[in-house]
């Protein structure tokens, strides 16, 4: 049976499922409850400069009947007295010495960093996470993402921390930057033990149509929040890959954060090189019990594939993430509709006709509603298979025989790329496109209006 335990830059934990520094880790009560529920670690809600929080702190992006597909907050770091937090931390680390109880910190001056590091080490913290990510409130005071967005400042502070700390240090990065490798390199140059990412994305989740203020509305006003939840996972995965493919950063352990809710999310993060994962929104949505599904799924995945530890498959997807120019231009897939499964919603038809390449035809009037693929028009874009509501109904079938492999890069080297406006070698040359006037004959029927 798979062994889920990890040693993350010297921080040991019974499993890679950690709670991210956030409201679920606001108190010793919550963290111990989480450990009882099966979490392997928790990053304490950020300790540091005293704060005051507003009432009305969270907003959400709901999609159809899904609540909190994206989640935003304007809550600051812990507003509880440091002494209370430290007392509770001491109790948690004493009762759960084998769990990864990590102190997230955010202070200003070097002296403050030195002092607070000493305090959390005394409280038994297994590691420190540096909050350089908060994109709301604290950044206005020169902390949080204000640091994460400035590699020079970030490097200086990490150096102070590395000087002062005797326990492992994780530098948490902000995604609110063009090149995540810039702060990543700064952290590595300052000899951080590990990196975690992403912190929240600067965002406005929506506008209240009654008050004309952004959510969450605080007495008629709002401010940008930090966006997280399932919606940000793709952004986080990409940034994780950027770090893990960077020659100077790739060997630094990374704790993955951003929209993790299911075992699949966890596996994807590990496949791109994360060796611990942190969760916030899912715990805020479903409670700590959500970890049961992650653990069961991860175990099943590992047992089926014969992996003993997560290190057996960590980073295994990285060699397959490449630049566009290295993709095989000879590869060809075309859509195939399984007529036995098709329900006749014709979403594939209209998606292709309006949004893609006019490669799906409807049957003749009176011949039912099952559409058909016009193979010569199909460019293999996948759109129909993505909009199809039926499991396994539209599949993309490989059409080339796999014998040819030609990339843009290779064609460039062979001086065989289109390079004039009307070059015959351009991809769309000769591809069928309906005459514009045909659009006027193809109007939607509206029987209610005759």
């Amino acid at each position: 049976m798979a062994d889920l335990s990890i040693n993350f830059a010297g921080i040991k934990a019974p499993n890679p499922f950690w709670l991210a520094s956030a409201p679920p880790t606001n108190s010793g009560y919550q963290i111990m409850k989480a450990y009882e529920a099966g979490w392997g670690g928790a990053v304490w809600k950020t300790l540091g400069m005293p704060t005051i929080n507003v009432s009305s702190r969270y907003g959400a992006t709901n999609y159809r009947d899904t609540r909190m597909a994206g989640f935003s907050n304007i809550e600051l770091i812990s507003d509880r007295p440091l002494e209370d937090n430290l007392r509770e931390m001491r109790e948690v680390t004493k009762r759960f010495p084998n769990h990864a109880t990590i102190a997230s910190l955010m202070v200003d001056t070097r002296q403050e960093w030195n002092d607070i590091i000493k305090m959390v080490e005394d409280a038994g913290a297994a590691g420190i996470e540096l909050n350089f990510g908060c994109p709301h409130g604290m950044c206005e005071r020169g902390m949080g993402s204000a640091v994460g967005q400035d590699p020079v400042v970030l490097k200086t502070i990490v150096e102070w921390v590395m000087d002062a700390a005797s326990i492992p240090v994780i530098t948490k990065l902000s995604p609110n930057i063009s090149h995540i490798t810039d702060p990543g390199m700064a952290a590595v140059e300052a000899k951080t033990d590990a990196i975690s990412l992403i912190n929240t994305v600067k965002s406005i989740v929506g506008i209240d149509l009654d008050t004309y203020a952004p959510y969450p509305v605080v007495d008629g006003k709002g401010t940008n929040g930090g966006y997280c939840g399932p919606a940000v996972k793709p952004i986080a995965l990409h940034m994780l890959k950027e770090l893990k493919q960077h020659p100077q950063i790739k060997d630094t352990p990374v704790s993955g954060i951003g929209g993790i809710e299911t075992w699949r999310d966890v596996v994807e993060y590990i496949l791109l090189g994360a060796t611990s994962v942190q969760v916030c929104t899912a715990a805020m949505h479903y409670g700590f019990g959500i970890v049961r599904e992650m653990e069961a799924g991860l175990r099943k995945f590992m047992d089926e594939r014969g992996y003993q530890t997560i290190y057996d498959f960590a980073g295994k997807a990285l060699p397959n993430v490449t630049e566009w120019k290295h993709l095989n231009l000879e590869y060809s897939v075309k859509a195939k509709i399984n007529e036995d499964k098709c329900v006749g919603c014709d979403l594939c038809y209209i998606a292709c006709d309006d949004g893609a390449h006019q490669a799906i035809a409807l049957p003749q009037e009176g011949q039912g509603r099952i559409p058909s693929i016009i193979e010569e028009n199909c460019v293999g874009c996948n759109l129909c298979s993505l909009v199809c509501p039926v499991e396994g109904c539209i599949t993309m079938e490989r059409k080339d025989d796999g014998s040819k492999h030609r990339t843009w890069d290779e064609r460039t080297q062979a001086d065989n790329i289109p390079n004039t406006w009307n070059d015959d070698r351009a991809g769309g040359k000769g591809h069928y496109v309906p005459e514009p006037a045909l659009a006027l004959e193809n109007k939607r029927k509206d029987r209610s209006k005759w």
Binding site: D65, V343, G344, D346, L347, Y349, R447, S448
Partner: protein, 430 residues
């Protein structure tokens, strides 16, 4: 049987006639509307006789534009609320939902429709206004679904409209003839008031048009006349003994029930004769009124019945027993009914005892009334012949719709016919 206790008061009546499609709450509507796939050229829309843009109104409900959803519905169907509850959605819109093809429950389109329409009716949100007066007048005979729809549409086009209705309430069989568990009188009449308040057509109640003189007067006073007269009373077909006490016509029985609720007389052992939807309703209603035994007797096989399968299931669910291959030959009894003699196809005869018989063997035609109108051609089933594009009859001044042209169909068909006729009238008078 006796699943239902005889209702002694209105509350018990309502409990026995619990609404089959209750109004959704906002949460139900939110989750249900989220399921719609927004099919291209949606089958549900094509299955609707009035062509309501169903995917659009469902999306509008989901995005919180409930009033917009109601507008989408009423733009296509003036009886949007009544149709949401009384339409046989299982064989129309919901029956054609593509989810059925993968055994996923179809969208509850009827209930979503009511969620939207009921919301604007309850808030009395006016969405329509009469068109500028064009100086022309149209008379409508019959305030049933077809007549009301025709009136609403004509008013938006600027016509003055007078409806002549034989009874004292509008909406025809919607209030007088639909099973009480499908819609309440209050709900029907609220929609009628909602429409009339916005569009201001006149309805003259208790004004049956029955004579040549009246017809001539209307022809003199109005530019066009719409016939939405429906069908007549239950057809009695000279079955021996059908004049005995305790023999009722289904249409009259249901009207009594709709108007008088628990005060309606229902026997202990009821035999309903017929195999159509009205027979199912009458049988189901007798059971819900606490009859200890309700038998539905049909001359043919179960499969040959004209009723929708779901209507039969509903009756059986209420405790009705079906007897097939049973042609009534005589109603027995000494003054009051005591039984019915039946004959099987094999010639075998048998008697079933009862103290009430409800005949649901079809409604009488309006042939004698139609004969008052010059040049009005009828088909071999005594239905008014119309141009299907305009619903204009063979007497160009007359247009028609609803049961008078289709021989007896749904409220939604009447709603569509009336609207179509209004457009036809407008095109003809322009």
């Amino acid at each position: 049987m006796a699943e239902y206790k005889r209702p002694a008061n209105e509350a018990e009546f309502q409990a026995n006639f619990k609404q089959k499609k209750p109004l959704m709450n906002a949460t139900q509507a939110y989750y249900e509307s989220s399921r719609c796939l927004f099919c291209y050229d949606a089958p549900c829309m094509n299955a609707c006789p009035t062509g309501i843009d169903i995917p659009l109104f469902i999306k509008q409900i989901h995005t919180g534009n409930v009033e917009g959803a109601a507008k989408t519905i009423y733009d296509a169907n003036w009886l949007g609320n009544a149709c949401g509850t009384v339409c046989p959605t299982g064989v129309l819109c919901e029956g054609s939902c593509v989810y059925n093809n993968q055994d996923v429950p179809p969208l509850q389109i009827g209930r979503l429709q009511n969620f939207a329409t009921k919301s604007v009716i309850d808030q009395n949100k006016a969405m329509y206004q009469p068109g500028p007066d064009n100086g022309k007048k149209v008379a409508i005979i019959g305030a049933g679904p077809a007549g009301i729809a025709c009136a609403c549409e004509l008013r938006t086009l600027g016509y003055a409209v007078d409806i002549f209705e034989a009874k004292e309430k509008p909406s025809g069989l919607t209030v007088y003839g639909i099973a009480p568990y499908k819609i309440t009188n209050e709900e029907v009449l609220a929609e009628m008031k909602y429409l009339q308040d916005q569009l201001g057509y006149n309805v003259h109640y208790n004004q049956a048009i029955t004579s040549k003189e009246q017809i001539t007067q209307l022809e003199n006073d109005y530019d066009a006349i719409f016939l939405g007269v429906g069908l007549g009373a239950t057809a009695f077909r000279n079955l021996p003994g059908e004049d005995k006490n305790g023999v009722y016509g289904a249409v009259e029985f249901i009207e009594d029930l709709r108007m008088n609720h628990e005060k309606t007389h229902v026997g202990n052992r009821v035999i309903v004769l017929g195999g159509g939807n009205t027979a199912m309703d009458a049988a189901s209603e007798s059971a819900r009124m606490g009859a200890s035994e309700v038998t539905l007797a049909y001359r043919g096989s179960k499969e040959k019945m004209g009723a929708y399968d779901f209507e039969y299931e509903l009756a059986v669910g209420a405790g009705v027993k079906g007897v097939f291959d049973a042609s009534p030959t005589e109603i027995l009894g000494n003054g009051s009914v005591s039984g019915v003699k039946f004959k099987r196809a094999s010639g075998e005869e048998f008697v079933m005892e009862c103290d009430m018989v409800i005949k649901a063997t079809g409604q009488a035609k309006q042939g004698s009334f139609f004969s008052l109108i010059d040049g009005l051609e009828l088909d071999d089933k005594t239905r008014i012949k119309v141009n299907p594009e305009t619903n204009q009859s063979t007497n160009p001044k007359y247009f028609a719709g609803g049961d008078a042209i289709n021989g007896g169909a749904e409220v939604v068909n009447g709603a569509h016919d009336g609207k179509l006729a209004a457009r036809g009238i407008d095109a003809w008078l322009k």
